[in-house]
Amino acid sequence: MEVSTYRRVVTIVNPNGLHARPADQMVKVASQFKSRIEVCKGHERVDGRSIISLLTLAAEQGTELVIEAQGEDAQSAVDALAELIAHQFHEAHDE
């Protein structure tokens, strides 16, 4: 089985940033994959399946994050998360 690393740079676009509910959704999506997933902000690097760690990034609107996955489904995992972030976690804008 081939183990590969894949990473993508994404920007938080939703106005409320990576708060509790978006973080919850990220963890839910990340948990669907087998790869090890990490999210980095600057030099901080946290486990993509830990909501508490994600929240400690305090990623506001406009923050650049690097999503990095390592494992057989690394690319699909990173793409799924990048899409979730790009679609503003499917949140309504009036929040």
Binding site: R21, A23, D47, S53, T56, E60
Partner: protein, 580 residues
């Protein structure tokens, strides 16, 4: 580092790890389990996590049904936090590698996360700290279905932090393990404070927001001299306090050299220095420090921390132990001074609206005669073992004193009839601690063998200040001119009747007041055992004419602040190292 201010109630410095007793009454013991118990503890933790997950899911479903799925989703984030793999990993590690109890691991880990969130100030994440706190509380509640260890059975030394501690909780503390304590509630003169002094545990009360700042396991300094609590001190502060502890220890050695010298003023007036005690074990402290007797033996400890009424033998053993250890030196035993904040099985079932003005102390004794007689029998039996004296607290009328003396005489006769040895002529005295007693001193003094001024209650009743209410505690002031006039009046009244008078409140333990008290005519003081050497040093540094001049001047002054300032300056002139 967080420096918090409170009220210094029991001197000394303690440095150690915090044990937080939660404001809801549940406490998080620092508990170490045998390594073999880790699996069972982990199971217990997982059970609690699952139980709470079930609870939160039910909350979510209920809210979703009521307000729509978007609102229910808030609880999804809570569930996700609860199931956070990193959190679970950390908890497991604390359980397996450091052998923490599940409660303690949850408390430490989640409080730390809450702190991290809070530190992200200005960020939306800071608000999530409340979620973390909520999860911590609920998890601990889940865990508390299991029996928890009582803090009186602590296994490692700690500093106890709590919203409030009752006197009985304080009395249950093991002095070797409780290095010091601090509470958010309470104030000077409260019985918790007195118990702390009795046990010589450094303590700070009335801090205010202790529980928000400190978590179990934090390093904490209790500065019982200045009323500070320092949470997570930095290196420099810690070093400074360690230096002060060393200094205090060497100062104590210095004062010890005074032990065998008489308490005598510079001009040769002999002062009798007695000690106030709470527990029989304290007699050793008194003798070590050269006290000449026990001026106040509080007997409430017999009733605190127990739900059954102590019988005559329990009383007798406690009195006999002290009287024998004092080897013929005077021992003033004060009868039951319970009521108000000291709870007991004796108390009226209905809570009193004004406990301090209610059925307490001698009033309670006169109402519950069997209890009173039991105590008097035990005191009288112990009276043949040494120099025992009986003191009635909170006397406010001449009638009350007569009743109490009648019952005493009756108990004495009873003992004699049964051929039980006791002394018929045991000296009887009263505490002067209700303003009415000071006012009526000319009629009360002739009816007793001695008087003792209890300043703690006298101040509270004279100034109408609840000494445990932090909003008015600033009015509770030993130097208030009204209080000082009542003390002066009591001293005069006693002198006219040639009756000895002493002072046994906390005021006598502070060297600042010594010149004033001697100047008012007091020649006998009863102080906390730890204060004996300092007060003796102060006595030896002054002369009676100096003291009389100070007292005369003070009685012309009109406010407590000026008086205290003046007393401080006067003491500085004669013994600068005693001015704290």
């Amino acid at each position: 580092m967080q420096k918090l201010e409170g009220i210094a109630v029991s001197p000394g410095i303690a440095i150690g790890e915090a044990l937080v007793i939660d404001r809801e009454g549940g406490h998080i013991p620092r508990r170490f389990l045998p390594p073999s118990a880790a699996d069972a503890e982990l199971l217990r933790l997982d059970g609690a996590i699952q139980g709470l997950a079930g609870e939160i899911s039910r909350d979510r479903d209920a809210v979703a049904k009521e307000l729509g799925a978007r609102y229910g989703a808030i609880f999804d984030a809570h569930l996700q936090m609860l199931r956070d793999p990193i959190l679970r990993g950390e908890l497991e590690q604390l359980l397996r590698e450091r052998h923490f109890s599940a409660e303690y691991a949850v408390n430490r880990t989640l409080r730390r996360y809450a702190k991290v969130f809070q530190s992200l100030e200005g960020s939306f994440v800071a608000e999530r700290a409340t979620d973390i706190n909520d999860i911590e509380k609920r998890l601990i509640r889940q865990l508390s279905g299991q029996p928890r260890q009582d803090f009186s059975k602590l296994t490692s030394p700690a500093i106890v932090l709590a919203h409030d501690l009752t006197p009985s909780e304080t009395a249950c503390m093991n002095k070797r393990l409780v290095l010091g304590f601090a509470t958010d509630a309470g104030g000077p003169g409260s019985h918790t404070a007195i118990v702390a002094q009795g046990m010589e545990i450094p303590a700070v009360l009335g801090v205010g927001n202790l529980l928000n700042e400190a978590a179990s396991g934090d390093l904490v300094i209790i500065d019982g001299d200045h009323g500070n609590v320092i949470v997570r001190p930095d290196e420099a502060t810690l070093a400074e306090y360690r230096r002060r502890v060393e200094h205090q220890e060497s100062h104590a050695v210095e004062l010890e050299s005074l032990r065998d010298l008489p308490a005598q003023t510079g001009d040769g007036e002999r002062i009798t220095l007695l000690a106030n005690i709470e527990f029989p074990q304290e007699v050793a402290h008194c003798l070590e420090r050269g006290s000449e007797g026990i001026g106040l033996y509080r007997t409430e400890f017999l009733y605190l921390g127990t739900t059954v009424e102590p019988d005559e033998d329990v009383h007798y053993r406690a009195y006999a132990e002290v009287v024998q250890a004092m080897q013929g030196r005077p021992v003033v035993i004060r009868t039951l001074d319970l009521g108000a904040d000291k709870l007991t099985h004796l108390q009226a079932l209905e809570p009193e609206r004004n406990p301090f003005l209610g059925l307490r102390s001698i009033r309670l004794s006169l109402r519950h005669l069997p209890t009173f007689r039991t105590q008097l029998r035990a005191i009288l039996r112990a009276s043949v073992l040494g120099d025992v004296r009986i003191m009635f607290p909170l006397i406010s009328t001449v009638m009350e004193l007569r009743k109490a003396k009648m019952i005493l005489a009756d108990v004495c006769e009873d003992l004699e009839e049964h051929g039980i040895p006791c002394r018929r002529d045991v000296p009887v005295g009263i505490m002067v601690e209700v303003p009415a007693a000071a006012v009526m001193i000319d009629l009360l003094a002739p009816a007793v063998d001695f008087l003792s001024i209890g300043t703690n209650d006298l101040i509270q009743y004279t100034l109408a200040v609840d000494r445990t209410n932090k909003d008015v505690v600033n009015l509770y002031n030993s130097c208030d001119p009204a209080v000082l006039r009542l003390i002066a009046q009591t001293c005069d009244g006693a002198r006219r009747c040639h009756k000895p008078v002493s002072l046994c409140g906390q005021m006598s333990s502070n060297p600042i007041y010594l010149m004033l008290l001697l100047g008012l005519g007091l020649r006998q003081l009863s102080v906390s055992p730890s204060a004996v050497p300092e007060i003796k040093q102060a006595c030896r540094a002054v002369t009676i004419p100096q003291c009389e001049a100070v007292a005369a001047r003070v009685l012309t002054m009109d406010n407590a602040r000026d008086i205290k300032q003046f007393l401080r300056e006067e003491l500085r002139k004669v013994a600068a190292d005693l001015v704290h």
